[in-house]
C-alpha cells in the first residue's frame, strides 16, 4: 500500500497541478450539483402540482369532438349520444373501475326535475349586457337538477367546489336501501325556508308518467363556484350550482322513468386513483379497454400542463447542464492526465524497472486524483446546493393566474344537460401555489459524486494504460 503514500507525496509536491485539479473538480461539481438540485426540485414541484391537482381522472363525453363531427356532418345532429363509441356508458365505466390503481369512482348523472312550489335561484348578472347571452327561449328545461354521486364524498366536495355546511352525506344504510335522501344548496334552502330533516317533492322533468317523489334533506352545502358572468347568463338555470341537488347514484332510479342499465349514458365518472403518479398508466390501460372515440379522460391536464410547463423547461435545462458539464469535465481531466502522464513517463519507467506492478502504478494515479476529487466534491455539496438556490431564484417564475375554467357549459345552450362537464375544475389552483424547494437527498448526491468519481477514474486510467503498456526500456530510452 506504499503507492498511497507516494500518491499523497505527489499531491503535496506538485502544488500547481493539485490546485488546478482541485479548482476544476470544484467548479464542475458545483455546476453539476446546482443543476441536479434544480432538476430534482423541478421534479418535486411537478409532483406537488400533480398531488395538488389530485389523483382524479374525469371520464366524460368528448363534446369538442362531438361538436366538430356534427358540424362537419360526420354524425347526425339528432344522433342519440349513447350510441356513440367510447362515451361514458355505465358498462364502460364499470370496465374501467376494474383497472389497476383505481381507488374509487364517482358516477355522475344529471336529471332535470321540477316543483312549481319551490323557488328557483335566479342568476343576477354582475355587469349589464344587453341582447347577448339570453337563454334560448325555444328550449325548455327543468327548474332544478339532480346530480348523483357514488363515492363516499362527492367529487364536487372533495375538490372544494362545494362545502358541506350542515348535515352529512348518505350513510351506508341509506345507500344500500336506496333511500330518498338529498343535499341542497344553502341559498336555495334559505330562499325556501328549508332545513335539515325537511322534505322536498320533485318530479322528473318532461317524463310522460311521472309522479312527485319526496326526498329528505340530510345535508346543506354551499357552492364555492364563481361563475363567469357570460357563462352564467347563457347556461340553463337548472344547472346553476344553487339549483343543484345531490342524491346518491343508487337512489336515482326512484325518480327516473327509464331504468338504469348498462347502456345508461352518464354525465361522467370521476375515477380516484391510488396515487397521482398513476394517471398516465391508467389512461393507457383505459385506452386498451375501450375505444375512446367520443370519450375523454381528463386529469385536469390543461391546468397541469400550464402549471408544470415552465418548471419542466427549467428541469430539462438543468438536467442538460449536468450532463454537459460532466462530459466537459471528463474531457478536460482526461486531457490534463494525458499531458501529465506524458511528463511522468520516466517515473513510470523507473517504477517498472524497480519491479513495481502496473496495477499499483495506475492505482497511485487514481488515488492522486481521487483524493483531490473527494475533497472538492465534499465541499461542493454545500456550495452547490446554495448555487442551485440562487439559480432557481434568478429564473423568475411568472406568477400568472392559471385558473382554467371548464365550468361545464360548453354545450349548455339548447342541448341536454347530459353533455355538460361532470365536475368543475378546482377553482383555487393557481401558480402561486407552486413552490420550488431546492433540496437534495443523500441518494442523488451520492449518485452524482459517485459517477463524478467514476468518470474521473476512467479518464485517468485510459491515458495511464496507454503509457504502461510499454516495457520499461522503451520508456527510459525515449528520455535518456
Amino acid at each position: 500500500m506504499y503507492f498511497i503514500l507516494r500518491a499523497i507525496e505527489y499531491i503535496k509536491k506538485q502544488k500547481a497541478k493539485t490546485i488546478l485539479l482541485f479548482v476544476l473538480f470544484f467548479i464542475i461539481a458545483n455546476i453539476a450539483m446546482a443543476g441536479l438540485s434544480v432538476y430534482r426540485a423541478s421534479e418535486v414541484a411537478k409532483q406537488n402540482i400533480r398531488t395538488e391537482i389530485g389523483a382524479n381522472v374525469v371520464y366524460s363525453i368528448d363534446s369538442v369532438k362531438l361538436t366538430t363531427d356534427v358540424k362537419s356532418g360526420l354524425i347526425e345532429y339528432e344522433t342519440d349520444a349513447s350510441t356513440l363509441a367510447g362515451v361514458p356508458l355505465l358498462k364502460n365505466v364499470q370496465l374501467l373501475v376494474n383497472l389497476d390503481y383505481v381507488k374509487s369512482v364517482d358516477m355522475i348523472l344529471h336529471l332535470e326535475v321540477v316543483n312549481e312550489l319551490l323557488e328557483q335561484y335566479i342568476y343576477i348578472p354582475t355587469t349589464t349586457q344587453t341582447g347577448q347571452g339570453k337563454v334560448n327561449p325555444t328550449v325548455e328545461t327543468g327548474d332544478f337538477s339532480l346530480k348523483t354521486y357514488s363515492s363516499l364524498i362527492p367529487t364536487d366536495f372533495s375538490n372544494n367546489n362545494a362545502t358541506l355546511v350542515e348535515g352529512r352525506f348518505a350513510n351506508e344504510t341509506e345507500i344500500s336501501s336506496a333511500s330518498n335522501v338529498i343535499l341542497v344548496e344553502k341559498t336555495f334552502a334559505d330562499n325556501n325556508q328549508l332545513k335539515l330533516g325537511d322534505t322536498v317533492e320533485l318530479t322528473e322533468f318532461n317524463a310522460t308518467d311521472s309522479s312527485p317523489i319526496s326526498f329528505t334533506i340530510i345535508g346543506i352545502y354551499k357552492s364555492n363556484v364563481v361563475l363567469d358572468d357570460r357563462i352564467a347568463r347563457t347556461m340553463s338555470p337548472a344547472l346553476l350550482p344553487q339549483n343543484q341537488f345531490f342524491i346518491h347514484f343508487d337512489a336515482i332510479e326512484n325518480i327516473m322513468s327509464t331504468p338504469v342499465s348498462d347502456d345508461t349514458l352518464l354525465a361522467g365518472a370521476v375515477f380516484e386513483l391510488e396515487d397521482p403518479t398513476y394517471i398516465s398508466a391508467f389512461k393507457v390501460f383505459a385506452a386498451e379497454k375501450i375505444d375512446l372515440k367520443y370519450g375523454l379522460l381528463d386529469a385536469n391536464d390543461a391546468l397541469y400542463n400550464q402549471l408544470s410547463g415552465p418548471i419542466d423547461s427549467l428541469g430539462n435545462l438543468s438536467g442538460m447542464m449536468v450532463i454537459i458539464v460532466m462530459i466537459a469535465g471528463a474531457l478536460i481531466l482526461g486531457l490534463i492526465t494525458a499531458l501529465t502522464v506524458n511528463q511522468r513517463k520516466y517515473e513510470i519507467g523507473m517504477l517498472l524497472a524497480i519491479g513495481e506492478s502496473k496495477l499499483k502504478i495506475i492505482s497511485q494515479f487514481i488515488v492522486e486524483v481521487a483524493v483531490i476529487a473527494v475533497i472538492a466534491f465534499g465541499l461542493s455539496v454545500f456550495t452547490g446546493i446554495q448555487a442551485g438556490k440562487m439559480i432557481s431564484e434568478s429564473v423568475s417564475m411568472q406568477p400568472s393566474t392559471a385558473v382554467v375554467s371548464t365550468t361545464g357549459t360548453q354545450s349548455g345552450r339548447g342541448s341536454s344537460s347530459k353533455y355538460t362537464q361532470p365536475v368543475m375544475t378546482n377553482p383555487s389552483m393557481n401558480i402561486d401555489d407552486v413552490e420550488i424547494n431546492i433540496e437534495l437527498d443523500g441518494k442523488s448526491i451520492l449518485l452524482l459524486l459517485g459517477s463524478g468519481l467514476l468518470i474521473s477514474i476512467v479518464s485517468v486510467i485510459i491515458p495511464a494504460l496507454y503509457v504502461t503498456r510499454y516495457n520499461p526500456k522503451q520508456i527510459l530510452n525515449n528520455i535518456g
Partner: protein, 229 residues
Amino acid sequence: MSILSLKNVSYGYIDGNKKRTIINDLSYDFEVGKFYTIFGPSGSGKTTLLSLIGALEKTQEGAILFDGQSIESIGLSKYRRNHQSIVFQQFNLLPYLSALDNVINVMNITNNPIPKPYKETALKLLNQLGIVESKAIRSIQKLSGGEQQRVAIARALATNVKLILADEPTGNLDTDTEREIISIFKNLAHDYQCCVIVVSHSQEVTKESDVSLRLTNGKLVEIKGEKHE
C-alpha cells in the same frame, strides 16, 4: 558458480524494413563475488545488453538464466523486484519523494525480507554511503549529482539482491566521486558476495574491475581477468 548465464542471446531493432542485430548469439556466465565492467564504442549495444539482463525488455532469442532458472519463468516483473537492482546514469529517483522515501519505497516493493523498521535500515544504509539524515529527508532535487547517485546505489542495495547492474553510473561525476563510487561497487562484490556489472567508458572503472569485457559485433570478449574453471 554462475549466478547469471546468458545463453545464445540475440537482440535487434527493426530499422525501417530491415532488422539490425545488436546482440548476436551472445553467451556468457557471470559469477558472484566479482566486479565486471563492460565497455565498447558508442552504439555497440551496452545499454541494450544491460536492459536484457535487467529484464527491462525481453530477449528475442536465447535465454537468460538466474540461479539456473530462466528469468521469463520467474516472471520479469518479479525478477526485477526481487533479484536485481539497476542504477542508471540519471533518472533513478522519484523527484517527489525524499532520498529516504525513495529507499523505503523499494523496500516496500520487493518481496525480499528487509530488517524492520524500514526507516532505520534505510537511514543506516544511506549513512554508510555518506548521506546523513539531514540530507536523507531532503527533497531529491536539493541533492548534488554525486549525492543523488549515492542515493541510487543505496536504493539498489536496499533490496538485498545479489545482482547489481549499473549503466555509466559515474558519467556525470568528478573523478574523486567516481573513485568513491567504484570502491563501493568493489566492496559489494568482494565483501558482500554480489555480482556487480557496470557499463562504463571510464578507464578508472575498467582498471579497478576483476573482469573487463568488451562488446563487439554483438558478443562479449574478455579483455582482462582470469578465465574461470
